[in-house]
Symmetry: C2
Subunit: 237 residues, 2 copies
């Protein structure tokens, strides 16, 4: 992959958590010569779950050959778990795409596309239990590598995952150049990046706020897992 | 500010480094009730320095009252250092806006607007020497707080700065809720986030690649400082 300009495809869907996408985008776009494509069904502007609106650059139907497909997470993944167009795209492209990445709950979309069977995978801590519905082995790590599959924890983990991808694909020096250029020397002003650090009270408060979303996700995961089972059963007949 | 819905304004300009903006955006937008406005001269889509294209939500002329104005950095700041419309907006609004923030080289734009005189400020490590041209006191820290002025280091420092802002404005628990929701428990896979960590070879390599941009910036900073001096002299007459 180092001999030609790399081509990265990031899925951009309604109600994506934009930092799941924009963190890795910044890292990947700084690889010399890289083309980063933002892929969706149409080229209409796509609104993230906090309102920030981004323009896709290519449709799924016309996506160029890709060296990496990255799926970010966010509230909008629930709809993707049973979205035939998106899941078919991922499934069909997975074989010809060198690397797959799922950031935050984007991992679950890879799962619904049947791409996590027996694979070690990470996701946002509050959604980690959903991974097993798609046959994945949940791993509580910020960056999880299983062969050419890269997944990770919630939202900001995308920066760590993307740097790891750049390191694996182009060497440690390439990753360090990117890291230094974005001055990625994090110094969180508080210790609350995981449930263990945040403590029981803050974690319980956040989970209470997330309950409606997590309940909807549980239903979407069940539907996605059932749809995957039916697709596979249909093929086996 | 905790008694009404907070209103945050982020400057969105051509050739912005998108993660300078999207990192803080994700943090600020998760404050309950917050409105985050993306401000530019027009509502046309704005292309970042790596291609990712974002839609503004309000023009400078029609920006609502704001509790915070945040200026991200990137190659595009060079043009802003002598941009009368932008600098006048910042200067006129500064008095009625509770908090100002400059992320990465966005600090230099605040400087060109005459808002850093005698203030402690940070910016991207490779542009730190430019701060003094605008009367600021350069500080080599990831998050720099001087009264109601928040600045910081390069690109990814915006996440740390924004969490600090949320903590100062809404209390530590509010910041911790956001931090846990975005699982901000960074684990960089390499140690290269600062010149000291990256080492001489990687730092020299990056600086060599940045030389044309830094030379253009030096000229833009000189022009911006001269324009600021002339505006002030004009008023003093």
């Amino acid at each position: 992959m180092t001999e030609k300009a790399p081509s990265f495809g990031l899925l951009l869907f309604p109600n994506v958590t934009q930092l799941d996408l924009t963190g890795p985008y910044e890292v990947l776009a700084r690889v010399p010569g890289a083309r980063v494509h933002l892929l969706w069904k149409t080229l209409d502007p796509v609104r993230s779950d906090t309102g920030l609106t981004i323009l896709p650059t290519a449709t799924l139907a016309k996506a160029p050959p890709l060296d990496l497909i990255l799926v970010p997470g966010g509230g909008g993944i629930n709809a993707l778990l049973t979205d035939e167009e998106v899941l078919t795209f991922l499934e069909e492209r997975a074989g010809s795409t060198g690397y797959l990445a799922g950031i935050c709950t984007g991992s679950l979309v890879l799962g619904a596309a049947g791409l996590l069977d027996g694979k070690r995978a990470g996701t946002h801590w509050a959604s980690r239990d959903f991974l097993s519905a798609f046959g994945a082995i949940p791993v509580a790590q910020r960056v999880v590598v299983d062969g050419t599959l890269f997944t990770g924890g919630g939202v900001t983990a995308g920066i760590d995952v993307a740097l790891r991808i750049v390191g694996d694909l182009f060497g440690e020096d390439a990753a360090k150049l990117v890291q230094l250029s974005i001055e990625y020397d994090p110094r969180p002003p508080f210790d609350a990046g995981s449930p263990a650090e945040a403590g029981e009270r803050v974690t319980a408060d956040l989970l209470a706020r997330m309950t409606p979303m997590l309940e909807a996700r549980a239903a979407a995961v069940a539907a996605g897992a059932e749809a995957l089972r039916r697709r596979r059963a249909g093929r086996a007949e």
